[in-house]
Symmetry: C2
């Protein structure tokens, strides 16, 4: 692995995949071979890459060039079908889908928090759900102040989590609304222009949607704490690419001071504090859009519970919520960080 790497990206033209390609392009990685894979719809398209360009290929398992690292940014079905074969050939797979996240043999990794759960024999590494990553970047460091008992979180999720077409639908439907024109949603289940709605994943018997259940289970796995209680409410708001979250963290003992929380989070890599009470300046999606950092503010003692603090966070769903976290896992796997 000393010289150049051979890297593959599945779903390279999608919202997350194209961010992965852009991150690889601007990284210091020496990439000798880049394989970009896509569906029949995008096969043959050309993607600019450093001084030249790379064509999107259909993946053919029989003529597969062995990559050192493959990043998956497609659906769970693709990952389930292809990743185990690649891993058995020794390829590292970082999978952005939910296919392997709750598999006990697969580490679920936010590099700043639990990179050490990747074992020498690990080949498939799961990239967590976007809301989970953005939540835990702000919450995991707070374990320095004692055991966390419960997290209550309400999300303000962007269109990007539903892919590029959902982002386009938000823009197109909003323009139609402003022009007084009718619009029938095709990608999302409900009108999105100046509207919000429950996350469009299946509702379980307990009344939680799929996104919320992911946040509960993935938080427990990443924090290695099967007892931590999480109550998420996941809502799509008409925002393009950053997720925001209103978070209350309950400790087993008394809550830390605002100053201690601010200092702790400011020192954590990948977190940036925006918490200016006098100026009423706190994190906003327009801050985090395009940024590698998760922004944290509204840090305050919960007036309703002496053991709790509240926070408000924003993070780019496509970057730290997906593509960046995956690329960071790769960087650390190959000692490139």
């Amino acid at each position: 692995m000393g010289s150049g790497l051979s890297v593959g990206v599945f779903g390279a033209t999608g919202a997350v995949g194209s961010e992965i390609v852009r991150l690889l392009e601007s990284s210091k990685w020496q990439i000798d071979n880049l394989g970009l894979f896509g569906s029949e719809r995008s096969a043959g398209k050309s993607v600019s890459w450093r001084a030249s360009s790379v064509s999107i290929q259909l993946f053919d398992p029989n003529s597969h060039h062995v990559h050192d690292l493959v990043l998956f940014a497609t659906n769970s079905q693709n990952s389930l079908e292809i990743a185990p074969t690649l891993a058995s050939q020794g390829t590292y797979v970082v999978d952005n889908s939910s296919a392997f996240r709750m598999n006990d043999a697969v580490p679920l990794v936010i590099p700043e928090i639990n990179f050490d759960t990747i074992l020498p024999e690990s080949r498939i590494i799961a990239n967590p759900n976007c809301c989970t990553i953005i939540l835990l970047m702000a919450v995991a460091p707070l374990r320095a102040f004692g055991k966390i008992k419960r997290i209550v979180v309400s999300t303000y999720q962007s269109a990007s989590g539903a892919g590029r077409e959902a982002m386009e639908e938000l823009e197109v439907s909003t323009r139609a609304y402003l022009n007084g024109e009718d619009f029938t949603p095709e990608i999302l289940p409900y009108p999105y222009a100046f509207n919000l709605f429950n996350h469009n994943t299946e509702i379980g018997e307990d009344g939680y949607n799929g996104e919320e259940t992911k946040m509960i289970l993935e938080t427990r796995k990443i924090l290695d704490d099967p007892e931590i209680a999480v109550n998420p409410t996941c809502v799509r708001v008409p925002i393009l690419r950053s997720h925001s979250e209103s978070i209350t963290v309950e400790f087993d003992g008394d809550a830390p001071s605002v100053e201690d929380v601010r200092e702790c989070l400011a020192a954590f890599p990948g977190v940036k504090i925006i918490d200016d009470r006098a100026a009423n300046r706190f994190p906003m999606p327009i801050d985090s859009n395009g940024s590698h950092d998760v922004f944290v503010g509204r840090i305050r003692k919960d007036v309703s519970n002496p053991q709790a603090i509240s926070l408000f966070v924003c993070g780019d769903q496509l970057l730290k919520g997906a593509a960046l976290n995956a690329v960071q896992i790769g960087e650390r796997l190959f000692g490139l960080n």
Copy 2:
């Protein structure tokens, strides 16, 4: 008061005031005299009223026609200056500003919940904060299941709470964004197109903004429970006229069942249940825009706390959040409901 009423509306051309006029117009009230008052900017303008029209006047305390009822939809300063004089003349004042809400001598009323706090001698009645009304329409009925200990609520607030000009700024700035044009906000502190931000009220020493502090204090007064703990996070989202709220209610004992909560809320006047898990159909702003009801859904047991339930609600900020609640107070004062 048997025949016709004399009614005044302050701020009759504003976002809330014009909804009040429209509600009065379509009501069964017999109004013999309607006085519409506004600022110098709107004085002289004509507002359509039933078969004719009414001119906006500047208020002159020296030549004031005595009304039976005056509804204020302007700022606190106006209310503080004018309302006590009107009340001393025997006029009922329903005030939509925050001027008198925490005044012990002034009832703070959501008619479905605490109309009985209006005493025979009460003349000024305060209309609660919009978020408080929408929250409590869903929460107050749940006291049937035992003492409520704590409420954790995150809001998704519309532009209308900042007035008509904020609604226009949301639309104009969104159009500019879609056209790739620059836009400098003039009404709201931050860009609003596909963005969200902390509620633009002053932040107190405890880190809570003014809107959140209102929700805490007003909830205690309306529920007549000085001990109830409330932890609100108030956020403006790019929505035009409905507020949404993600709510977790913690009881002193075990939480009621989902079925019992649904039945209890469905029977409460002014609440409509939209809670179809199979169809992933829950309250949305486009449901509540223009509706008199507060919509409730996502009713579920809080998986993180056996004493809690979670809900998601939407209500029209200009109607039940402001104008409608004020008009309903008037209706009941004069036995018109």
